[in-house]
Symmetry: C2
Subunit: 187 residues, 2 copies
Amino acid sequence: MGNLYIGLLHFPMRNRRGAVVATAMTSVDVHDIARSARTYGVARYFVVTPLPTQQEIAWRIRGFWTEGERAMEASRRGDALEIVTVASDLEQVVEWIREAEGEEPFLVATSAQHRGEPLLGYEDLRKRLQSETEPVLVLFGTGWGMTEELIETCDALLPPIDGVGDFNHLSVRAAVAIILDRLAGTR
Amino acid sequence: MGNLYIGLLHFPMRNRRGAVVATAMTSVDVHDIARSARTYGVARYFVVTPLPTQQEIAWRIRGFWTEGERAMEASRRGDALEIVTVASDLEQVVEWIREAEGEEPFLVATSAQHRGEPLLGYEDLRKRLQSETEPVLVLFGTGWGMTEELIETCDALLPPIDGVGDFNHLSVRAAVAIILDRLAGTR
């Protein structure tokens, strides 16, 4: 899965009232998602926020575990956090991947809601990742989800994770773990 | 999945030095796992700790979201936390299920490590859950995992979640989400 990238976006998101906001970064998102990403061989996990103070916090969390004596810990937290890169917006992430891979990533949005857009199935994306070298960037929203405009700028949209019944208020940490297992897990 | 139960155990666990300890409860474990459990139709999520002060905290987290005005929130956090029950040990959980279901649950252990014990595959347990009404209790450890004695008292052990390569230091929140998706997710 050297061609799979993920990004956790904090802007432009909807809040519970539907307004467009920059959400606050959560430290457990940085940790948990880095550990899941590292487990499933994700090439890089981008924490994306326009707020400089939040970027600073994300870098500090990363540094705490990747530098000095903590880096040697048996929990291997440092190995996980090493794949974290902090960025200010999606354009910067795309540019980072273009420089690393020599081509633009295929952009995949995710959403907890059923929407009308044409969907790319999990199995189809799994096959695409395995058969092509093209980089793929899967984006995850925070708060009450990505704006429609942001989803529309992507090349594809994965279906929401349906459980049993009508409740699907998963944490983004859980959603990322499930989606990585569907895309890259050993069966 | 009315017959699927899960338990998050805080004792007897190993710490990083291999000693047997009671681990500290983490509030995000209560929230995240309740949301995942509710999404996948788990009948009840048991937070199990022998420490009365920790039990009190778990009940308080549950109460904060299930009572009063917070219970009406659009995040439906209350709907998730309603399925949380706090217990002091595994025996109490088994007794709870026996009273509710009229029979003892089939006990399934999980582990992040490859062990010698005979394993029950995810697909096999998925089929068993679908075809039988027998209650199944899947147990998750904290800290550095369940003691061997605890695993041996269970009826079966699920294989560790293998990603790509040798890193599999998932958070328990991520592991629960992935395992529930494998056992009860819509394909």
